[in-house]
């Protein structure tokens, strides 16, 4: 049978020497920061690892200094609250970003516990680890995921858009195809009269023209953004192009659309992106009101001193403050599962920011109103 060493204080001492009883050696060598701070965030003690993270060689110079100053500004309020909680007698953990005295940023994860000082005051004793590699990896992964999701949302939007366009075009195609077929049937039987033929061909040509207008308007949605393709565009044209592409959809639901855009208004923009932004707002309005009574959408464009404003209002009764505070956030949606990913408004808002303007919800309106503000710029 293998002999095992019996661990008692004598055998342990022989293994590790005096270092066992000298916790200082252990604390010095640990790869984690160990620190003690007061309820006001003042540093009482810190081990070598912690000092190295701070970018200093010893406690002189940092003894009694505020650790709050080392916490990244956006995390500071949280850290202060965390310290207060620990010093009230509770244990806890926190992840935060710090900036050392050497300017190096680190993501830190801390596990803290209350520690009674000799004057009875409760201080904050913590073990803190550098988790930058893990957090930075997560941030990078999330950024990529968001990019992929934004791309999917664009593709999904495009899918819905294409479906709508297919319907707009399928009816006129049906007219052309069936009228031409009927003319063919009668011609084969020698039953065709000249006026009938003329009327039939006119119907076909008018309908071809109708499809051609739709396709022409579609080109405004071209979004080749490899180069910046901003130029001045009449706001009236942008709005009317958008409406011509969805007028059938609004007509089907008896939605009255009233447009008043002041003459001569031009916006300096990427036509396709702004068209998509307006389409997004019109789609949202449609979804919100399609099952209401007395449906209407009002579009107004005017020039203020410093900007050009386009408002899109529908007969809805406004949006709750709870929803309004989140609806420009990516992936937030009030629509059912499978109905969009909640990126439309976020994308629209991003587009307006890229144009130096903004999109916002006007909670002062008694109906539901979104506002697009365009800066008045000279062309680049």
């Amino acid at each position: 049978m293998e002999q095992t060493t019996v661990l008692n204080s004598e055998s342990i001492t022989s293994l590790v020497g005096d270092k066992l009883n000298d916790l200082t050696e252990m604390i010095k060598s640990t790869p984690s920061c160990l620190k003690l701070i007061t309820k006001d965030g003042l540093l009482l003690n810190m081990n070598a690892c912690g000092l190295e993270m701070l970018g200093v060689e010893s406690m002189s110079g940092v003894l009694g200094a505020s650790v709050y100053d080392l916490v990244e500004e956006s995390h500071r309020a949280n850290y202060i609250a965390f310290n207060q909680m620990i010093c009230s007698g509770k244990k806890g953990d926190l992840q935060f970003e710090m900036i050392g005295l050497n300017g190096i940023r680190r993501w830190m994860e801390t596990f803290a516990t209350p520690f009674a000082l000799s004057n009875g005051e409760i201080a904050h004793l913590a073990i803190t680890n550098d988790v930058s590699a893990r957090v930075n990896g997560e941030i990078e992964y999330n950024k990529q995921e968001i990019q992929l999701l934004e791309e999917s949302a664009r593709i999904e939007s495009l899918g819905q858009f294409v479906n709508g366009i297919a319907h707009e075009i399928n009816n006129p195609l049906t007219i052309i195809s069936s009228r031409a077929a009927l003319l063919g049937i009668k011609a084969k039987k020698n039953e065709i009269e000249q006026q009938y033929l003329i009327d039939g061909l006119e119907t076909i040509m008018e309908t071809v023209s109708r499809i051609s207008d739709i396709i022409g308007n579609l080109q405004t949605f071209s979004t080749k953004t490899n180069k910046s393709q901003k130029s001045h565009h009449p706001l009236n044209d942008i709005v009317r192009n958008n409406l011509s592409l969805c007028k059938e959809k609004f007509k089907l639901k008896d939605i009255m659309v009233d447009v008043k855009v002041a003459d001569g208004l031009e916006v300096f923009c990427h036509h396709g992106l702004i068209s998509q932004t307006i389409t997004n707002l019109l789609d949202n309005a449609y979804d919100a009101i399609e099952n209401t009574e007395d449906k209407w959408i009002r579009i107004r464009g005017r020039k203020n001193k410093n900007n050009i404003v386009l408002t899109i209002t529908d007969n809805g009764n406004g949006i709750s403050s709870a929803v309004a505070s989140k609806m420009l956030n990516p992936f937030y949606t009030t629509k059912g599962v499978g109905v969009g990913m909640g990126l439309g408004l976020a994308l629209a808002s991003g587009t307006m920011k890229k144009h130096g303007g903004r999109l916002y919800y006007n909670d002062k309106s008694k109906n539901t109103q979104f506002v697009l503000e365009f800066p008045i710029l000279e062309s680049e």
Binding site: H167, N171, T174, I175, S177, S178, K251
Partner: protein, 118 residues
């Protein structure tokens, strides 16, 4: 006796074609341009076939399908649409044929007459 067909579509040019085609073949054709108007016609007359578009202003094809489903009447039902997503309507309602717009007129005439002949 002439068979009775109801053609429902908000596009007048499409209704015109169907009316001409079916009347030339000896059918009696009534028309409507939305769901409610079609239901009013259905309540007044008996139809052997109802050929209806789905998306129409005011009230759409679903109104007609719901009405027929609840009534004692049993016409042949043919639904057409420019929206692709309606092809799953066959599962929910008793429909004899779904026509995706645009279509080849001569082919559909043959298909429709086959359904009427059943």
């Amino acid at each position: 006796m002439k068979k009775n067909i109801l053609v429902v579509d908000d596009e007048f040019a499409i209704v015109e074609v169907w009316k001409e085609v079916f009347e030339a073949r000896g059918y009696h054709v009534s028309t409507a341009n939305n769901g409610d108007a079609a239901v009013a016609s259905i309540e007044e007359s008996d139809f052997d076939l109802i050929l209806t578009d789905m998306k129409m202003p005011g009230s759409d094809g679903i109104v007609i399908l719901d009405h027929i489903a609840k009534s004692e009447k049993n016409p042949k039902m043919i639904v057409s649409s420019g929206f692709v997503e309606y092809d799953n309507i066959l599962e929910k309602y008793k429909i004899d044929m779904f026509i995706q717009k645009p279509f080849l007129l001569e082919n559909e005439i043959v298909n429709i007459e086959e359904i009427l002949g059943k």
